[in-house]
């Protein structure tokens, strides 16, 4: 036990500490402590007055127990009593206990202040220091009130001991920080400045801190400190390594004081007075020169101390930003450090260069180190060094090197994922998010889509940064002008995680929405499309702003937008927001398009088959090159705008419609096949439907001017069913073959049944509805296959049509046809197993009509089919349409 062996400690304390250390368990320790607490309590309460030594010993034990992490609720009075002792060691323990343990207990503070007052007045430098240290450590307002008048006096009095001045200066600094209003400026301020000239470098060291803090607040009042600081600095840096004796640290003269003086000078612009300015420049040059001199010691302490001054000098040079020569020299010096074997120096050089890069004088000089910095990115083991390298790359990034830097950054980010994963602390992810957002801010034009995809991937996969990211992008979007990529990231992240910050009234759902929407009109089409996706996500996240969002989607600028992609989304999302329950909206969509983001860039080139329906028209050409232009005249019933290239052929589509009905009929129950063929071309077709939408045509590109023989051209058409219809839309194709203009029109096999959504239902449901509809009898329709007789029972109308059945009935074929027709085939629903039942909903933009289907084969191997349609105002037309289509099957 070293303390005991020295014989100068408190034996009882040393024994107690040993006991605690020897405790084998936490329980044993607590037991020992409780025993000691009981002992001390009884001593303090005892009749016998304790002598100073015992009091000191027990207070010290209490302090030890407190520092072990146990609560101490007594002994404060005994500690305060120790302040009035005349023995240093007893006073010291009293003050220490108070510094560590006393909170603002007003009764006690009065007593403590009394003790401090006595010691300050004692003229005993040791006691004065104890009192000053106590004030500096506690720094309460009560203390400020009691002593702000006394301390400046002690500080500037001629007869105050140096060590007391040091303490007084820092004590005043502490009170100035905690209670600036209580510390009066006065005549002492000018005398404080002159402490910079003090003989004692310890006094100058303490005073410089005080002056720096005061100068930050009142630069004008402490302006004279500049010339004094420069001359002090000058004397230090030009001194021989032995001149300053006690203040020389490993051959470096007063390194900490030099650093403090250089920091003080950073409170001011470059000195105006020529002589002072010249002297300062000399100082800075001397410091830079010394960095080139061979080291006076191999010890790291020497180089650290020297470089501490050097880095602070460089900070001042950067702060002044007025001496190109010094800036470039600083940059060269840092450049050397970039390859230093000391990790610390490489780190600091990268950090310091980062600020140098922002100066117009040194930006170019910094850029010359790009290869070294990139190398650091690849080779540094310490992730914090790599982070500095990344920061520096951003800082040096401009038009001339952006491509290289972004490429290197991307390389790095791929591996960074792994190295970051190794890190334990999530702070690195927030850093990652920050860095990418910075990259976008600084070099947005050069940032490819992949960059922000990647940040989004990180955010999606790390729930601990999602809230942070939402907050960060929200803040970044506040800037009046932000890069479009930032809007994309913001739109995406808020759409997914905006709810995490919605609790804060400053980023409420409506504010988030308005913020994003304020950027909408300035953005390009893809970004606007993404924002629309964000809006529909908001409908799910924040039902309270659904109406606002619907208003926006419903506005003419969206619904009638000239861009089909945007129009399509607005229509689709508006519809979705009206019909979909929260369940549907919150179901993660596998559709890349609903996410508004291709998960991998390659997906962009693939038609998102799941996004809607798709109608792919392959255009084949046999031999000689043909100039193809595709045009599509929409029927009134379709909202799909005219697409593709320049010429819409004919206003009279019927004129050249090719064998329409036959071909269309083939497609009633299937979606793929050859739609048209002649000696010049073949048109193949693939289609997909979802609800009332066919694939939209945003991805339709202008067809190449020339199509080679045998080549294929793909066109995507998008179709929306607005209401029921009888006539299929017509595709007009116009091209030049062998110099002759060719026109042809093909009926697109779009029939109302394409917009069926199959509906599964139980036998009970089916017959309940069936019955209900039968009772209503408003528009029921019977098709008799014997003669295909339509009988529509309606109060207003009666329709009858007679057709001939074309094919005999076969069970499997009928089943396939029913499924192909688009309704769900309901097995085991009808009690008669030879009957077929089906159900589906026809989706048009305006209405959805539920349909029930039942086929009863009759005994003559013919079929009697029955349709019953749910009543809607326009259901009569739908009945007719569907039946019209259905008869094609037979």
């Amino acid at each position: 036990m070293p303390a005991v062996s020295k014989g100068d400690g408190m034996r009882g304390l040393a024994v107690f500490i040993s006991d605690i250390r020897n405790c084998k368990s936490k329980e044993a320790e607590i037991k020992r402590i409780n025993k000691e607490l009981a002992n001390i309590r009884s001593k303090f309460k005892g009749d016998k007055a304790l002598d100073g030594y015992s009091k000191k010993k027990y207070v010290c034990k209490l302090l030890f127990i407190f520092l072990l992490g146990h609560d101490i609720d007594f002994g404060h009075m005994e500690a305060v009593n120790l302040l009035s002792s005349n023995r240093y060691t007893e006073k010291q323990i009293g003050y220490l206990f108070i510094s560590v343990l006393v909170n603002s207990n007003s009764e006690l503070i009065r007593l403590i202040n009394n003790g401090i007052k006595n010691d300050l007045a004692s003229r005993n430098p040791t006691f004065m220091n104890l009192a000053l240290h106590c004030i500096a450590n506690v720094g309460s307002r009560e203390m400020a009130e009691a002593f702000t008048a006394d301390i400046p006096k002690i500080l500037v009095a001629g007869d105050t001991m140096d060590s007391v001045k040091q303490s007084a200066a820092l004590c005043l600094l502490r009170l100035n920080r905690t209670s600036p209003d209580l510390v009066p400026m006065g005549e002492w301020t000018s005398r404080v400045v002159h402490l910079l000239n003090d003989q004692h470098l310890g006094v100058v060291t303490a005073a410089t801190s005080l002056i720096t803090t005061l100068a930050q607040k009142n630069p004008e009042e402490f302006k004279t400190s500049v010339s004094l600081a420069v001359s002090r600095l000058s004397r230090i840096v030009t001194s021989a390594s032995t001149d300053l004796q006690d203040y020389t640290y490993y051959f470096v003269p007063a390194p900490w004081l030099s650093v403090k003086l250089l920091r003080l000078l950073q409170c001011y612009p470059p000195p105006e007075e020529g002589a002072v300015r010249g002297r300062l420049t000399e100082c800075l040059e001397t410091i830079l020169n010394k960095a080139q001199e061979p080291p006076k010691s191999k010890k790291v302490q020497h180089s650290n101390a020297k470089n501490a001054v050097l880095f602070e000098a460089i900070s001042l040079i950067i702060h002044h930003d007025s001496e190109p020569n010094l800036l470039v020299r600083a940059c060269n010096q840092l450049g050397q450090f970039l390859q230093h074997r000391e990790t610390n120096l490489r780190y600091l050089a990268l950090e310091s260069m980062c600020t140098l890069a922002s100066s117009e004088f040194s930006h170019e000089a910094v850029k010359t180190h790009i290869e070294t910095v990139i190398n650091a990115l690849k080779t540094e083991r310490d992730v914090s060094v790599r982070q500095r390298a990344v920061d520096l790359l951003y800082a040096m990034c401009d038009r001339s090197n952006a491509q290289q830097i972004v490429a290197e950054m991307l390389n790095y980010l791929e591996t960074a994922d792994y190295s970051i994963r190794e890190e334990i602390y999530a702070v690195d992810y927030t850093w990652y998010v920050d860095t990418i957002l910075n990259l976008i801010r600084i070099a947005g034009d050069y940032v490819s889509e992949e960059v922000w995809y990647r940040v989004i991937q990180i955010v999606i996969n790390r729930d601990d940064v999602q809230g942070y990211s939402a907050k960060t992008v929200f803040e970044a979007l506040q800037a009046p002008a932000c890069h479009e990529n930032l809007v994309k990231v913001g739109g995406y992240i808020l759409g997914e995680f905006g709810n995490l910050i919605a609790g804060d009234p400053r980023s409420s759902p409506l504010i988030q929405f308005n913020l994003l929407h304020s950027k909408f009109h300035l953005c390009s089409v893809p970004t606007r499309a993404l924002l629309l996706s964000t809006y529909i996500k908001f409908v799910n996240l924040f039902p309270e702003i659904k109406a606002t969002i619907q208003d926006v989607l419903r506005s003419d600028s969206q619904l009638r937008n000239a861009d089909v992609e945007l129009q399509q989304r607005a229509v689709e999302y508006l519809r979705l927001s009206c019909i979909a329950s929260t369940d549907i909206l919150s179901t993660p969509s596998t559709s890349t398009d609903l996410l508004g983001l291709g998960l991998a860039p390659v997906l962009n080139s693939v038609a998102p088959a799941s996004a809607g329906g798709s109608l792919l028209v392959d255009v084949f050409s046999d031999n000689s090159p043909a100039v193809a232009s595709l045009a599509h005249t929409a029927e009134e019933n379709f909202s799909s705008p005219r697409i593709g290239s320049a010429d819409v052929v004919s206003d009279d589509p019927a004129a050249a419609v090719h064998d329409a009905d036959e071909l269309v009929n083939k497609f009633v129950c299937k979606n793929n096949g050859v739609l048209f063929e002649n000696q010049l071309m073949q048109i193949g077709l693939k289609s997909e439907f979802r609800q009332n939408l066919g694939e939209y045509n945003s991805r339709t590109k202008q067809v190449d001017p020339a199509v080679d023989g045998g080549a294929q051209v793909q066109q995507i058409l998008n179709i929306e069913c607005v209401s029921d219809f009888m006539e299929a839309p017509i595709l007009n194709i116009q091209f030049r073959y062998g110099g002759a203009l060719q026109n042809m029109s093909v009926k697109l096999p779009v029939t109302l049944n394409k917009f069926f959504q199959p509906t599964e239902m139980t036998s009970q449901d089916f017959f309940q509805r069936w019955k209900q509809l039968s009772i209503e009898q408003q528009h029921s329709l019977t098709v008799s296959c014997k003669s295909f007789c339509f009988i529509i029972d309606s109060p207003q109308q009666e329709v009858q049509k007679i057709f001939k059945a074309k094919h005999p009935m076969d069970t499997e074929v009928t089943k396939a046809k029913i499924i192909g027709f688009g309704v769900a085939l309901l097995d085991m629903v009808d009690p008669n197993p030879s009957n077929f039942t089906g159900a589906g909903v026809i989706h048009t933009k305006n209405i959805q009509v539920g349909c029930l289907l039942r086929l009863e084969p009759n005994t003559q191997a013919q079929v009697r089919g029955v349709f019953i349609f749910q009543f809607y105002s326009r259901v009569l037309e739908i009945c007719v349409c569907v039946c019209h289509i259905y008869i094609y099957i037979y």
Partner: protein, 153 residues
Amino acid sequence: MLSDSQRHHVPIIRFILIQNRAGKTRLAKWYMQFDDDEKQKLIEEVHAVVTVRDAKHTNFVEFRNFKIIYRRYAGLYFCICVDVTDNNLAYLEAIHNFVEVLNEYFHNVCELDLVFNFYKVYTVVDEMFLAGEIRETSQTKVLKQLLMLQSLE
């Protein structure tokens, strides 16, 4: 990070910690108001941040809005928490300067010296650092003062 206008309200050094590898605190000197729970949290966080680093790493770690400048001596970590804009090397050497004083004062200081003489360590700290600032850097002057105080016992 603090703006320039706020910076003068806070001490440069937020706290000084001496911890052993196991995370036992051998000295905690606070220059800012923290409540007890916060102090305990900081102690644990600093330990977690610092002990995972190896000799090839820098002696600086970003920590919350601050940074920790630390150096390891045998089983003890000496950590100083300062503002991110402060001079890393100056505080790194301030740690070493402090350690050399302790070494001189306790004649080859070891961890146990800090345990048994914890109340003296506070005196050494107050001589060299006060109100979150560097007070005295001369080892000679500090040791002279400490010996004088020792003689008063």
